[in-house]
Amino acid sequence: MTSVAEQTRVGAAGPEPAGAARRASNWARRAPLMPALIFMIVVTQLPFLATLVISFMDWNAYYPDERGFAGFDNFVRVFTDVNMRDAVWTTILLTAGVVLLSLLLGLGIALLLDRKFAGRGAVRTMMIAPFLVVPVAAALLWKHALYNPEYGLFNGVLTWIWGIFGADPPQPDWISIMPLWSIIFALVWQWTPFMMLILLAGLQSRPIDVIEAARIDGANNWQIFRSMTLPHLRQYLELAALLGSIYIVQTFDHVFTITSGGLGTANLPYLVYTIFYNAHDYGRASAAAVVVVIGTIIIATFALRTVSSLFREETGR
């Protein structure tokens, strides 16, 4: 449908008029686009260029007189910094952990919600709720109302369960025992709905007649899932994972709130924030930011490729 529409639309430009008239019509077409395009270039590309320039400078707000060209010094410092190496590792663990867990959970839940059952709409609405809690609020909620060793819900439930058997309940201090995992779980809770929604949309776009035909031919649920549903879902899984990675790599709120970057949980965005906000070392913060950008570009290249293949399928190009 869309593919035909798109093609006729592009074709609708018709025979191109010559010379000045054509140029005028080209500009008339471009005009509505220009404000948005110029705005984006100014607001997003210029700052990044500035970051790139500052990353090669000696610039610490505490020593304003020593500003100057530093060459690759900042980058050398960034790459030899233990904190930085830890932060890279933490970022990878955090992102991969959250994306994989929420993707698996999201897939399971999307499969559950793909069938018709009583209260399906209600369950779907309940599932979306975690995504609609403001991230800082969610992080505070997990830290104080759930993880708190004295009166958090988790230890409260442990007290309950052990109380039934009249035993002494274990009361772990979740955040100190597993700082990174406490952040990961809180994030998985927020991101599973996102994954679930994309995968559910993917499941519901399956060609039903083909699956019915396979079922009549005697394929069982597992065979249908493995050889039909999963291949169809592949691009949705990729899309969910990559979009999720782009958002989750940038996680700041949860690290800032739950552990303040302590106990080995400082990821790259948090580290850049502290170098800039607490140490006021602008050169080093910029170099770290440039490293983050390069890392992101690697993920983003894959993400763009996936989106553009989905996009081409949709518009028939």
Partner: protein, 295 residues
């Protein structure tokens, strides 16, 4: 995962004979329905717990095991709104920043999306992917120059700086979403309108607007949510005057002692606009979050 293991044990004998298969599927169905409900309840539980705790007294909120059936009170809310620093200025700042930036986003995105779908410019896919690529640049990379610029221009602690930043943050999402909505306008209707001699304004009003209105609403709600949620830039670029609600939440916690009910009340109040906007946009949420690539 559980769905797979639940349907897995059903043996391959389910073929040919219709009836036992159906019965079995239904019996399994009850368990799957139950499982779906349990999972749904587990996921919503922290939100329910937040709301419940916010209506408990501080003493009841900090008990172990939890006092689920403790008497309800609005003490936490009263304390939040009147106890210390008033939350109204930050809430109003958040509202201003989110609404004004959303309006700006729509004003910029709708014409741009028009030029990328209905009357496309040359190389419109490249332009579209340029917008997307800006979304992939980590925001932290732009933080320092924007801070330095704000300091230089005297715009620190000014809500307009956040408005501009939030506009740039949401513009790519809005362009992608609006393009996918505009692409749904049937080309026959556009042709019919132009044959009837309808001008641009008339076409926009009577052909395009009715089709894309729900899309505009969904785009607006999603941009609103993202602006409202933002913490990092708001924290760095604002202080006392232009402080937003998420920043207020973080500062409010460290200065309180026994505060769980009040904290939950605060978290709920700050999340409420997002919950409302999100449930209102529920049907279009996927399309927005996947930048219009999934319907």
């Amino acid at each position: 995962m559980s769905a797979i293991t639940d349907t897995g044990p059903v043996p391959a004998t389910r073929d040919e004979r219709g009836e036992p298969v159906k019965k079995r599927r239904e019996r399994g169905g009850i368990w799957l329905t139950l499982l779906a409900w349990v999972v749904g309840i587990l996921f919503v539980l922290p939100v329910v717990w937040m709301v419940l705790t916010s209506f408990h007294s501080e003493a009841d909120a900090a008990t172990n095991p939890p006092a689920v059936f403790a008497p309800l009170t609005i003490e936490g809310y009263r304390e939040f709104f009147t106890g210390g620093a008033s939350p109204w200025p930050p809430l109003l700042n958040s509202l201003t920043a989110s609404i004004v930036s959303t309006v700006l986003v729509l004003l910029l995105a709708i014409p741009a999306a028009y030029a990328l779908s209905i009357k496309p410019v040359k190389k419109w896919t490249d332009v579209l992917f340029f917008f997307l690529s800006t979304k992939m640049l980590p925001v932290v990379a732009g933080l320092l120059p924007i801070y330095l610029f704000a300091q230089y221009a005297g715009l620190l602690d000014n809500i307009w700086l956040l408005i501009i930043f939030y506009t740039s943050m949401n513009l790519p999402i809005a362009v992608w979403m609006m393009r996918s909505f505009l692409a749904e306008v049937p080309v026959e209707m556009l042709e019919a309108a132009s044959m009837d001699g309808a001008g641009l304004i008339k076409t926009l009003r009577s052909v395009i607007a009715p089709v894309v209105m729900p899309g505009i609403a969904a785009t607006a709600l999603i941009c609103f949510i993202f602006s409202w949620n933002e913490l990092l830039f708001a924290r760095v670029l604002t202080a006392t005057v232009a402080q937003t609600a998420p920043v207020f939440l973080t500062s409010f916690v460290t200065s309180q002692g026994l505060f769980l009910a009040q904290l939950c009340a605060a978290a709920f109040v700050v999340s409420l606009p997002v919950l409302v906007a999100g449930f209102a946009a529920q049907d279009k949420l996927v399309q927005g979050l996947s930048l219009g690539s999934v319907k």
